[in-house]
Structures are given as structure tokens and as C-alpha cells.
């Protein structure tokens, strides 16, 4: 029964929140002190009722009351009912957007928060968002030679501050009270009676440890990063150069067979990668390219049908005058392409480059098929293998994941525009 009451209370609260926000915006706009005060009172009242009662019925009641009051206030402070409705709608949209974007960002926050947490906090319930660590002693070391941790020990109803000196094989802990460091008495506490004393402190060591766990030949993962950067760079150079050149040939030059080949080009876009996967493997095998990076980037130099198609459309839309002028000046086809046409489609090239960077950075299937030496692996594959080995250590795993995601996010902040354009242009939205 309470379940449904909670659901109803949550729905009502959502409506009330929107109304409260709308009324306060409207009140602020009206610049009337009593209205602003009233809206503040409603908000405070609602918040107080929710936080103090912690009960679905009171919450629902408070939501209805404050919501209705807010609506009245909203109507009073607005010019007319239409204006009031407009304000309400906008604040509803904002509320939904804020709630939604928070929802979308939570996994991120969780990723970063997990990457900075100690193992004992990873699975604590309720979830811990801000990483903390047990406070340790500056002077006393535990049996493993590390600084001993501080805890509260509940003993006979009393709380004593103790140092955890050693973990016993029985699962119990040998402790020593902080205020009598020289005691000879052997005190043993069970884990359940100990509450670790914590302070907010991210565990940056997860990052260094995550890298230190990698095989030595990978140079703390720098080799993976190097491989990924190399692959990304080569793929982008290859794709942009070859696709734009071929696109130009299809868009602007007259040569027999162009139309037929263009139809073929469009048709190749329909062929799933699965069909050519095995024969391509056999081709690269006969070239002796297995366990090298070549199968992953050399094909980029042969152009990609989709990008050729896109760029052709762009080239087609450029007026011919510029070209004609260049021709008169004695510029050849390649010169026109390189000096005149290419600069004209720079934004499109940027967008395509960004999409290619994403594709190359994330490429997983290719490395999975072709690579086996750790020295040749790119980040995506290395991360998957890392998960296989360290799945039980979320701190390290999340640190490693963060390290792989971070460059892409940074790239996004610097080239946001091209990302957005890239999506609109290529139509590759969701995964």
C-alpha cells in the first residue's frame, strides 16, 4: 500500500515542484516583495514537510497544498492565464531537462566517483558519491607495514577510538586504543563492532595502480595510447584525403563510366561488414599483416563509400565559377581540387574527421581479430582485456575506463561544433 502511496506522492511532488518553480519565476519577474516572499514560504513549506515527515501521505498532502498555492500565486503574478500557462510550461520543460540531464550524467559521475574510491566503499549501501578513506595514524604501522587505520570500537555500549593493528586469520581485528598507545593488553574486536573513521579523500592511487598492473612491455599503458593515437591519425588522414579526392572526381570531373561506378559505390554501402570480414582476413594474412596494425588503418586510404557520397554532395553544391577561373589560369584537376575545392568544404571535412576519430578510437572488432601482442593493442581492446583480468577491482577498472574516455571528452569540449555538425551531417546518432 505504501508503495503506491509513494508513487503517487512522487508524481504529485514533481507537479508541485514545477508549479513552485514557475510561481517563483513569475514572482521574481513581477518584482513584488510579498509575492516573492510568498513563493519562498511555499517552497520552504513544501521542503520542510517532505524532509521532516518522510512519509508518503504527508508528502502527497504537502505537494497538493503547496502546488495549488503556487498555481494561485502564479496566476496572480502573471498578466493573464495564457502567460501563466506559458511560464508553467517553460518551467516544466526546464525541470524535465534538468532531471533528464542529471540522469544522463549520473553514470559519468559514478564512473569518476568509483575510480577514486577504495575497495571497501565500492559496494556500500546506500551508495557513496564522494570518496572517503579511513583516517590513518602517522606513527603506528599495522602488521602489513602500512599506516594503521582509525576506527570507533563499540564495546559494552561505549565508543572507543582505536587503531587497527592487525587482521587476524579468524577475520577479527587486533586493535589498540588511541589514548593508551603503550598498552600491552591484546584487544580483539569483531569487524561488525568497528566503524571506520573516514574523511573525504579521493584515492588517486587507483590510477597509478591501474597503470602499474599493466604488463611492463606496455610502458604503463603509454604503448596502448600510442597505438590508438597512431591508428586514429592514420585513419583520419587516409579517410579525409582519399575520400575527398575520389568525391571530387565523382562530383566535378567528366569521365566515362562515372555514373555506373557511382551506382556501384552506393550499392557497396549496403554490404554488411560481416560478409567481407573473412576474405579480408585471408587477404591480410597472405600479406603477413596479422598481429600488425596495418589491417586497421591501410584500408582507410582507399576511401569510404559513405564519406565519398557525402563529400560529393558538398562538392556539387559549390558554384563552378571559381573552378573555371582556375582552369583559365592553367590549373590542373588536382590543383583545383587541392587549392580551391578542398578549402571550400573544410567544415564538412572537419565533421567527417571527427566522426572518423570516434570510429578509430573506439574500434574494437578489428583489433580483436587481428592483434595478439600487448605491444600492439589499442586502448579499446586493452580495456576489454583489463576488465577480464581485473573485473573484481572496480576502482582500478573504472580508473582505466576514465583514462580511455577522457581524451574523447576533452576533444569534444574543444571541437563541440564539429561533433554536432558531424552527427547532423552523417546521420550517425545513436550507437
Amino acid at each position: 500500500m505504501t508503495a503506491f502511496a509513494w508513487i503517487i506522492a512522487i508524481v504529485l511532488s514533481a507537479f508541485a515542484t514545477v508549479s513552485l518553480i514557475a510561481s517563483s519565476i513569475s514572482a521574481l519577474r513581477s518584482k513584488r516583495a510579498p509575492a516573492i516572499l510568498a513563493s519562498a514560504v511555499f517552497i520552504a513549506g513544501f521542503a520542510a514537510a517532505v524532509l521532516l515527515a518522510r512519509n508518503p501521505y504527508w508528502t502527497a498532502l504537502a505537494a497538493v497544498a503547496s502546488g495549488l498555492a503556487a498555481r494561485v500565486l502564479l496566476r496572480r503574478t502573471s498578466r493573464n492565464s495564457e502567460h501563466a500557462a506559458e511560464t508553467w510550461k517553460l518551467s516544466a520543460a526546464h525541470s524535465a531537462l534538468i532531471a533528464g540531464s542529471v540522469l544522463f550524467l549520473i553514470p559519468f559521475v559514478w564512473l569518476i566517483s568509483s575510480s577514486l574510491k577504495t575497495d571497501d566503499e565500492q559496494a556500500s549501501f546506500p551508495p557513496v558519491w564522494i570518496p572517503t578513506q579511513q583516517i590513518t595514524s602517522d606513527t603506528v604501522k599495522n602488521a602489513e607495514g602500512e599506516p594503521a587505520g582509525l576506527s570507533w570500537w563499540t564495546r559494552n555500549g561505549k565508543r572507543i577510538k582505536v587503531l587497527e593493528v592487525a587482521e587476524l586469520p579468524s577475520g577479527e581485528v587486533q586493535v589498540r586504543p588511541v589514548d593508551q598507545p603503550q598498552t600491552m593488553e591484546m584487544l580483539v574486536a569483531t569487524r561488525d563492532d568497528l566503524t571506520k573513521i573516514r574523511h573525504v579523500s579521493p584515492r588517486w592511487k587507483n590510477y597509478s595502480e591501474a597503470l602499474a598492473y599493466l604488463p611492463p612491455e606496455t610502458n604503463y599503458g603509454l604503448v596502448f595510447l600510442g597505438n590508438t593515437l597512431f591508428l586514429t591519425l592514420m585513419t583520419v588522414i587516409g579517410t579525409v584525403l582519399s575520400s575527398s579526392m575520389v568525391a571530387y572526381a565523382f562530383a566535378r570531373l567528366r569521365w566515362p563510366g562515372k555514373k555506373a561506378l557511382f551506382v556501384v559505390l552506393l550499392a557497396t554501402m549496403m554490404i554488411p561488414g560481416a560478409v567481407t570480414m573473412m576474405p579480408q582476413f585471408l587477404i591480410f594474412r597472405s600479406l603477413g599483416w596479422i598481429d600488425t596494425l596495418k589491417p586497421l588503418w591501410v584500408p582507410a586510404f582507399f576511401g569510404s563509400a559513405f564519406n565519398i557520397f557525402l563529400l560529393r554532395q558538398f562538392f556539387m553544391s559549390i558554384p563552378t565559377e571559381l573552378e573555371d577561373a582556375a582552369k583559365i589560369d592553367g590549373c590542373g584537376a588536382f590543383g583545383i581540387y587541392w587549392r580551391i575545392m578542398l578549402p571550400m568544404v573544410k567544415p564538412a571535412l572537419a565533421a567527417i574527421s571527427i566522426m572518423t576519430v570516434l570510429g578509430a578510437w573506439n574500434n574494437f572488432q578489428g583489433p580483436l581479430i587481428y592483434l595478439s601482442s600487448p605491444q600492439k593493442m589499442p586502448l579499446a581492446y586493452a580495456l576489454q582485456l583489463y576488465q577480464q583480468q581485473h573485473g573484481g577491482e572496480p576502482g582500478l577498472l573504472m580508473a582505466a575506463s576514465t583514462l580511455m574516455v577522457l581524451p574523447i571528452i576533452i576533444l569534444f569540449f574543444f571541437t563541440q561544433r564539429y561533433f554536432i555538425e558531424g552527427v547532423s551531417l552523417t546521420g550517425f546518432g545513436g550507437r
Binding site: P107, L214, M245, P272, A333, P394, R431
Partner: protein
């Protein structure tokens, strides 16, 4: 104008690109020292013994540098091993579980070692078969050739808790000897709680490490005929053994009830045998190490696993047979075909399987363990002389462990081993399925075993029939293709001649056109057209890359739709599930966000970034993150925490287990996919912004609001976008791979009960794990045809619902 930068800069850039292309193709010079690459022996924090062995080998062989792969291919991924062998870049030495040697050998993927063994005879300390336990040696022999040298062995015996024996009124010095006694003791040792659940169970037939294999061998049942041609999984004696296991389960409450109890079992210090939750268990010799470390005080003893009465009495078919038997397994060192340093590799194998090296390893590991305050119990060598030495020099830390260790070593000569056959894995899987079905009373033991036997036999027959298949003849197809290409070329040439302008400029332009389109034309022929034709031909072949292809006609397709229909159907069902629920949900999410953003809200850029960023998170990182967010363990994972505070609190529904549970794996994938819906949102936003506001104004005048506006303006105007997303989404869903591979466990397993097996994963497994290139090509074409059909279907259906503005104008 900004466009005209100094020209030299551009050419420098072009030059740079060309240089990088050349530099990328360039290979570094070879090393002087021989680098011996070894897979399967992983050096880690706990492997002091192995490290000492390798260091000593390197000290004695200064010309060799051993490289133990500690990541990736090193961790025994059969797909990686096969790819590297096929690709001609295999490791020099590989440590393999012995029961797989037959499989590798049958594919000619490993190198026979007979020539080395022959040469050994002249050395002072040869590697000789006599020094090894017969079972361990024979397990690596396929068709009379030795393919690997065994390193370690393990075997299985009955562990029993003496304290519980006393408590139940049993004599702790008289462990059960026969099956009947085992049953009787099991009943006596089992105790129930007041609510009918188990407080303790006497014995679980298949907990520990016994399986039907051991019971079957005890009863004289063999699973394969000696010539390896016939599977005899349903022979009389094996059926009896399975019947015995079923009866034993039933006598303590039934398979399902035992399984529920068993699902709470943990490992290490909480091992149920150590805690006294189970009285007896048949388990491997490796458990002694855990006992020494986690339960040094446990009052236990080991005895040979109980056998049928007839065997103990030596009657009938058991005349002259040993009273008790055990089952041995373990690892061995082998050399893949194409190993680049076979001689150095052999030196490594010889050293690692020798006594001296084993003693060095034991010494180092003992030292390491003692530093950590752990007792040291040595693992068994496959070399019986080594074991005798080890027992003398590294006596286990307590008399109880000493007794157990000795008893295990004494049993080793009487060990059986899994049949050496290339269907080893299928046989194993088949026997597990038969065991599960019989014990759960879904089938009688006879019916279950027969059904599975037929499946294994089919695979055997197919493999043997393969040798009689005709080789695939390339002449005809090559001739036809060549002829067709020639005709095509001639025709194209004629067309070109006819259409080529007469002026010098036109010819020049055409030449430039061909030159500039050349990269794609070349790439199309090499990477698309060629492979496409090859793929068609392959689909009618049996081709494992190491052997010449054989022609099988329509067999690949036939298998796909008959024997493998279940798995294949599942793969497409899963893809359809992901598409049917995932695509509309993704569209709905993206569209709702876009519509909110389109309300001319302030802070658009901020919101847009927040929603968009998740979609650019690399698929692998996203999958790794979601595997943690949606953890299988209800006590972990963020969503489980939310679930527990709401749904569990209110309705008592426990968190579902997500990727660990068949029913929830796909919903988990969909949730993970929705996180990336922000990418689609950008498209929707572009679409929404393209709708002229005059339409909405007109609608408002007509009195249409809210839903009506959405239904009659927004949706029709967006329908081309919806259509595009549907087509792309469908194509994408059918080719789903990366995240599924990661979330289903990262081994290509397909998740619990194949609930995450998708078509491309199925194809990938066949192509690059089993190297059935022909079969995989057949799968690829089925995928292709389905994609084509769906796309054409959608293209046809679009005229009924997609609204194009242009038509109206």
C-alpha cells in the same frame, strides 16, 4: 580570403601524409637475441615459482630471452591462439590444458614433437615417456604422435570431514568404499533445519570435481570407442552411473533442492567443506593447498573415491582391474605449427618439464609463501621421479596433509584421462547437458545420454566425412570470374572509348578523373568486390585456413537451418528483441529530449552537451561502465541500490541480476543503449528546427493543441527522419557486436543461456574461434539477405507512412 594559405604549406602536408604512409608500412630491424614467446604461463604477483624457473632458464641460456605474455593472448584465449597460428605469427611455446591437445593436434595446429624426442635419446638426460605418469603422457598423444610434454598433474579423491563422521556415529577411519556405502553415509551425514532446508549435506554427487566422467569410468563405461570413430556416451555402464548419480541426488532431496543449497556456496575461507556444511566431497588435489592456507585446523582425511561393488570385489568385467581409480588432468607445454624458434622452444620445454626446474620452482614458491605467512603445499609434477623428490624435500606442513598428499600421489598411476579426440569439448558439453537433464528428471538417463550421443556422433561423422569430400576446385570459378571480368573490362573499355571526348582537354580530364578515383576503385576491387566473390565461394566450402578448402555444396546452409537452428534462431531472436524494443525506445527518448530542447529554452548548449556526451563514450568503456552499474550481485551496482530502496522496499522484488540472468540480459543491453540516445537527439533537433513554424500557427488557429499538433504536424514532418533512424537502427541491430561481446563476458560466450548471442557474435565465433571460414561465410550471407529484405521491406512500406514535403509542393 582565408582559403589561400601559402601553397608550400599544403604540399608539405601532403608530403607528410605520404611519408607517414610509408613510415607506417616500414618494419623495424630484427633483434639479435632469440626472443622466445610463450603463451599460457602468466607471470603475476603470486607466481614466484614460475618466475624463478624462467629466470634460471634464461641464466643458463644466455642466447634466449623468454617473453611470457601476461595479457591478452597470454591468457589462453583459443581464438587468439588459432588466429596467430593461422596468421603465421604464433608463439613459440604454449602451455595448454592437456585435454584440448587432441583437438589442436587434429587440426594440425600443433607441431608433433617426435623428432625432438628421437634426438633426445642421444643426450645424457633424455626426456622419456617412462618418467611420466602414463595417463599424463598419453593424453597428449594423438594418432601415435606426441604433441605436448606434460608439466603438472592433478587427480581426484574423496575428502571427508572426520569430525562430522564422529558426530554422525560413523568411524572416522572407515571412509565409504562402495557406491552403496557412499549413499548410506550421505544420508547419515545430511541434516535438515526445522524449515526443511539443509543444515548440512552429506555429499553432492557433482559438487567438487567428479562429473559423470569419473562415475562412468568407475563403472567401466568408456565414452569413446578406442579407435575414436564412435561416441559411446550412452553405453550401459555410463547409463548406470548416471542413474546412480540421479538416485543419489534424489536420496537427499532432489537435484533442484540441492542446487539451491549449493548456490550459496562460497570459496576460499568460506568453502562449505571447510565450514562443515558438506561432509564429503570428491575433489582435486589442488584443494590441499587451500586447506593448508584457509583451514589448517580442519580434521579431514582423503580416500579413493568410492566405486561400484563389483569393481571392489574384482568380479566380472573388473577382473584384473585396479580396485580404485582416479581421473587426472593438468597442463602441458606444446609448440604451435609455424613456431619460429623450435629448437630454443624445445630447450625451454625440456627444462620446464624436468625435475631440477620443478625443485627450483618449489623452493622459490615456498620462500614466497613463507614470507606471506602461508604454508606451502607443492603441486604435483607429471614426472613421477620429480614427485618423489618433492615429497622428500618439501614435506607438507602437517601429518594430515602429508597423509593426503601421499595418498594422492599413490593414486596417480591408476588414473584415467579424458579421451583424446577432437570432439573433446562437444563431448564434455554433451555430457553436462545429459547429466543436468537426467538429474532434474527432465529425461531418463538413457534418453538424455542417447540424445546427446547422437549429437556428438553427428559431429564425428561430419569430421570423418570431411576427409572424403572433394577438394574445392578453383579452376572453374576462377575461369568464369576471369572470363566475366575480361568481358566486363572489354565492354567498359569500349564504352570508355566511345564516350571519351575527342578533345585533348576532355581526354586529360578523364585521365585525371580515373587517377583521382583510383584509390576507391582499387580499394573496391581488393577490399569489397574480391572479398564478396570469395565470400560466396567460401560459403560452399569447408575451409579452416590450415588445410586446402573442400567443396561441401549447400551443406553449410543446411547445417545452419537444421543442426544449428536452435542457436542460429536464438541469435536472430536476440537481435530482433534488441531491435523491436531498443529502436523505438531510443527514438522516443531522443525525440522527447529534442522536443524539450526545441521549446526555445535557455541554456540549450549546456543541456545538449549533457545529453550528447554519453553517446560519444567509447562503446567498450560504456559497456565496462554499465557492467558495473548493472552489476549481477544485488549488493553492488548503482541501479541495484536504487532498485533496493524502491522496488524491493515496496514490492519485495529483488534486483534482477542483469547480465548474469537470461531474462534480464537484453533489457540491460537496452538500458545501456538508451544512454547513448543523445546522439539521435541531435538529429531530431535538426529535424524539428526544419519544421516551418507557420504550420504550427495555422494549426493553432484551427484549434489544434498539444497532442493534436504533435500527431498531425510534428510526426508527419519528422517521418523521413524516423524512417532513416528505423533503417539505420535495424541494420545496426543486426550487426551488433562490440558491447555485446564485452557484456556477455568477453570470451564470445553469448552470456547466460546464450541470451546475448547475436548474429555477428555467432559468426565471429565460427570464423575466428573455430576457424570454420566456410560456415561463417554462410552465416554472413544469411545476415546480408535478412538485412537486405528488411531494408527493402521498409523502403516499400515507407510510402504508406513517410511524408515527404517535396511531394506536396
Amino acid at each position: 580570403m582565408r582559403f589561400f594559405c601559402p601553397p608550400f604549406w599544403r604540399y608539405r602536408f601532403l608530403l607528410l601524409c605520404l611519408l607517414s604512409l610509408i613510415a607506417g608500412l616500414w618494419c623495424g630491424p630484427a633483434e639479435a637475441k632469440v626472443k622466445l614467446v610463450v603463451w599460457g604461463l602468466q607471470s603475476g604477483k603470486e607466481t614466484a615459482g614460475l618466475d624463478a624457473q624462467v629466470a634460471e632458464f634464461e641464466r643458463r641460456n644466455p642466447d634466449i630471452d623468454v617473453s611470457l605474455l601476461s595479457m591478452g593472448a597470454g591468457n589462453m584465449n583459443p581464438q587468439k591462439l588459432m588466429t596467430s597460428i593461422v596468421g603465421g605469427v604464433p608463439p613459440d611455446v604454449i602451455s595448454q590444458d592437456r585435454f584440448t591437445i587432441g583437438d589442436w593436434a587434429s587440426r594440425d595446429a600443433f607441431r608433433p614433437l617426435d623428432d625432438f624426442l628421437e634426438a633426445e635419446k642421444k643426450t645424457p638426460d633424455p626426456v622419456r615417456a617412462e618418467d611420466f605418469y602414463a595417463a599424463a603422457w598419453k593424453e597428449a598423444v594423438y594418432k601415435n604422435r606426441v604433441y605436448a610434454i606434460p608439466t603438472g598433474v592433478d587427480n581426484r579423491m574423496l575428502f571427508y570431514n572426520r569430525k562430522l563422521f564422529r558426530a554422525a556415529g560413523l568411524d572416522p577411519n572407515k571412509p565409504p568404499r562402495t557406491w552403496a556405502e557412499l549413499k548410506e553415509y550421505t544420508k547419515k551425514l545430511t541434516k535438515f533445519n526445522a524449515d526443511g532446508t539443509y543444515a548440512r549435506i552429506g555429499f553432492i554427487p557433482n559438487w567438487g570435481n567428479s562429473w559423470l566422467y569419473l562415475y562412468s569410468w568407475q563403472n567401466g563405461g568408456e565414452l569413446m570407442s578406442p579407435d575414436g570413430l564412435t561416441c559411446t556416451l550412452d553405453n550401459k555402464y555410463t547409463v548406470q552411473s548416471l542413474q546412480y548419480m540421479t538416485d543419489l541426488y534424489d536420496s537427499v532431496g532432489g537435484y533442484n533442492k540441492v542446487n539451491i543449497f549449493q548456490s550459496g556456496f562460497q570459496t576460499d575461507e568460506n568453502d562449505p567443506f571447510f565450514l562443515g556444511n558438506i561432509g564429503m566431497v570428491i575433489n582435486g588435489s589442488w584443494v590441499l593447498n587451500s586447506i593448508a592456507r584457509f583451514a589448517p585446523g580442519l580434521d579431514f582425511a582423503v580416500a579413493p573415491a568410492p566405486v561400484p561393488e563389483e569393481r571392489l570385489e574384482g568380479k566380472g568385467r573388473f577382473k584384473g582391474e585396479p580396485k580404485y581409480i582416479t581421473w587426472t588432468g593438468g597442463f602441458s607445454l606444446a609448440m604451435p605449427i609455424g613456431s619460429r624458434h623450435p629448437n630454443e622452444g624445445w630447450r625451454f620445454i625440456k627444462r620446464m618439464t624436468g625435475s631440477e626446474s620443478a625443485l627450483i620452482a618449489a623452493e622459490a614458491q615456498k620462500k614466497f609463501n613463507e614470507e606471506k605467512g602461508r604454508p606451502f603445499v607443492f603441486g604435483f609434477s607429471a614426472n613421477h621421479r620429480t614427485n618423489a623428490l618433492l615429497l622428500k624435500l618439501f614435506a607438507p606442513p602437517s601429518p594430515r596433509l602429508m597423509q593426503a598428499q601421499t595418498a594422492f600421489i599413490d593414486m596417480l598411476p591408476k588414473a584415467k584421462f579424458r579421451p583424446v579426440t577432437f570432439v573433446g569439448q562437444s563431448l564434455w558439453d554433451a555430457h553436462v547437458r545429459a547429466f543436468e537433464r537426467a538429474c532434474a528428471h527432465a529425461q531418463t538417463p538413457q534418453a538424455a545420454l542417447t540424445e546427446q550421443r547422437v549429437l556428438v556422433q553427428k559431429e564425428l561423422d561430419k569430421a570423418f566425412a570431411r576427409a572424403n569430400l572433394p577438394y574445392f576446385s578453383f579452376t572453374k570459378p576462377v575461369a568464369i570470374i576471369g572470363l566475366l571480368s575480361l568481358c566486363g573490362l572489354a565492354f567498359a573499355g569500349m564504352q570508355v572509348r566511345r564516350n571519351l571526348g575527342t578533345s585533348r582537354m576532355a581526354r586529360h580530364e578523364a585521365l585525371s578523373g580515373y587517377l583521382m578515383a583510383a584509390p576507391w576503385i582499387f580499394g573496391f576491387i581488393i577490399l569489397t568486390a574480391g572479398p564478396l566473390i570469395a565470400s560466396i565461394l567460401l560459403a560452399f566450402c569447408d575451409y579452416d585456413v590450415l588445410h586446402a578448402p573442400r567443396y561441401v555444396g549447400w551443406n553449410n546452409f543446411q547445417t545452419l537451418f537444421t543442426d544449428d537452428r536452435e542457436l542460429m534462431g536464438k541469435a536472430f531472436y536476440n537481435a530482433a528483441y534488441l531491435a523491436v524494443f531498443g529502436i523505438p525506445l531510443g527514438i522516443a527518448t531522443g525525440l522527447s529530449i529534442a522536443m524539450l530542447l526545441n521549446m526555445k529554452v535557455k541554456g540549450l548548449a549546456w543541456y545538449r552537451s549533457a545529453f550528447y556526451i554519453p553517446s560519444i563514450v567509447p562503446a567498450i568503456a560504456s559497456a565496462v561502465l554499465w557492467a558495473w552499474l548493472l552489476a549481477g550481485d544485488p549488493n553492488k551496482g548503482l541501479l541495484n541500490a536504487l532498485w533496493k530502496t524502491t522496488l524491493t522496499e515496496w514490492f519485495g522484488i529483488l534486483p534482477p541480476g542483469w547480465f548474469g540472468v537470461p531474462e534480464w540480459a537484453k533489457p540491460g543491453l537496452i538500458v545501456q543503449g538508451l544512454w547513448g540516445a543523445g546522439g539521435g537527439m541531435i538529429l531530431w533537433l535538426a529535424g524539428l528546427q526544419g519544421i516551418p513554424s507557420s504550420l504550427y500557427e495555422a494549426a493553432r488557429i484551427d484549434g489544434a493543441r498539444g497532442w493534436a499538433q504533435f500527431r498531425h504536424i510534428t510526426l508527419p514532418m519528422l517521418s523521413p527522419y524516423i524512417f532513416f533512424q528505423l533503417i539505420m537502427g535495424t541494420i545496426h541491430a543486426l550487426q551488433e557486436f562490440d558491447r555485446v561481446y564485452v557484456l556477455s563476458g568477453g570470451t564470445g560466450s553469448g552470456g547466460p543461456l546464450d541470451s546475448m548471442m547475436v548474429p555477428v557474435l555467432y559468426l565471429f565465433n565460427n570464423a575466428f574461434r573455430f576457424f570454420k571460414m566456410g560456415y561463417a561465410s554462410a552465416i554472413a550471407w544469411v545476415i546480408f539477405v535478412i538485412i537486405l529484405a528488411l531494408t527493402l521491406g521498409q523502403l516499400w512500406a515507407q510510402k504508406y507512412w513517410v511524408h515527404y514535403e517535396a511531394e506536396k509542393d
